[in-house]
């Protein structure tokens, strides 16, 4: 699928009719969404043959974009707001893409294998204090695959709930095994990079490009008719997961 075609399809999606300011609900425009997913797939092969999770999916734009780009993937979109999920579900149906949705707080969701060590074909007994038990444990932690390969997201910027952008990044880096694609205000670039590498155990943090995020006047408190925010499209690589 060509970039322009993807962008065109995404332009037809329904968006928030009554956005909730406390959740920082802003639609991810087709320009940004198409570029984000196109790059993820064509430059990094992070979508085909992968399990892809959209954290804070809103009306579903990013997940739908991933689902449109290739048929060979599993897309799972998560949001806390049932009304958005309803719209996202209809958007997916409209464009005839199959994807799953979950209503949840991204911070609270627990994934299989994230806290306990479960071996595929048996049960592991942790032998406390036994050196061989510990060696075996470490071996298993590294051989168990993380289930989600790629996380894609347009997280809240943290204007309502301070630090929300980094909270999302933190959990994304814990869940993804291969890559995290995310959008953050360009003004926070150094802080995001430092936090990702130093505190969130990312082994790589790269700004793929800077984009303009057109925010139309959605809320009453917006003074200008339209505002342009510089955002960075990031690709993070999680460090080795340890338990």
């Amino acid at each position: 699928m060509k970039l322009k075609q993807l962008e065109g399809l995404l332009g037809g999606l329904d968006q928030f009719p009554n956005p909730k300011v406390e959740l920082e609900q802003y639609p991810t425009g087709p320009h940004i969404a198409s570029r984000m997913l196109f790059t993820a797939e064509n430059s990094f092969e992070d979508i085909s043959n992968k399990v892809v999770a959209d954290f804070g999916c809103g009306c579903g734009t990013l997940g739908v974009a991933a689902a449109l780009l290739t048929l060979i993937r599993h897309v799972l979109s998560i949001d806390i707001d049932p009304e958005s999920l309803e719209i996202a579900s209809l958007n997916a149906e409209e464009l005839e893409v199959d994807m799953d949705f979950i209503q949840s707080n991204v911070m609270d969701l627990r994934w299989r294998g994230s806290t306990s060590l479960e071996v595929k074909y048996g049960i592991l007994h942790l032998l406390n204090g036994d050196i061989w038990g510990q060696v075996y444990t470490i071996f298993l932690v590294h051989t168990l695959g993380q289930i989600v390969d790629t996380v894609i997201m347009n997280p809240p910027f943290g204007t309502r709930k301070k630090g929300a952008d980094l909270d999302f990044l933190n959990v994304a880096l814990k869940v993804a095994s291969q890559a995290v694609y995310s959008l953050h205000k360009s003004s926070t670039r150094e802080h995001v990079k430092r936090t990702a590498l130093r505190d969130f155990n990312a082994c790589n943090a790269e700004v793929l490009c800077e984009l303009r995020y057109d925010l139309p006047k959605l809320y009453k408190f917006h003074k200008k008719k339209e505002v342009d925010i510089a955002v960075d499209l990031w690709r993070f690589v999680p460090g080795k997961h340890q338990s």
């Binding site: 399990v51 799953d100 627990r110």
Partner: protein, 122 residues
Amino acid sequence: MRLLTHNMLSSNIKGVEKGFPLRIEAEKVVEKPVEMNADFLRKMFEKVEWKAFVEASRSMGYAQLPEEVDSGMLESDEFLSRFHHALLELHLEEGALVCPETGRRFPVNKGIPNMLLHEDEV
């Protein structure tokens, strides 16, 4: 919600030690055919917790999966097509996911499970 998704989720209630797998209460299951891709299935095979997957597919009314598997079975078209069907074509539209430890029900409506926790469960 498909079984591939169900296979990834654990109960997230505070204090629960073994929240996987969530038990399925199926009230409405819908079959939606999708094109099969063998390479993708082989990749997903590495990720799937098989015992929970077989149990879950039974709850959805499908009992054609072998109890035990090995990667050699991936060469069989018959196996691949059953695996594909159960993993990606069966949708839980209405019902619930139940925490195996506490019995707490997470309702599923229009194919979407609600995993939101109450205040005392966080």
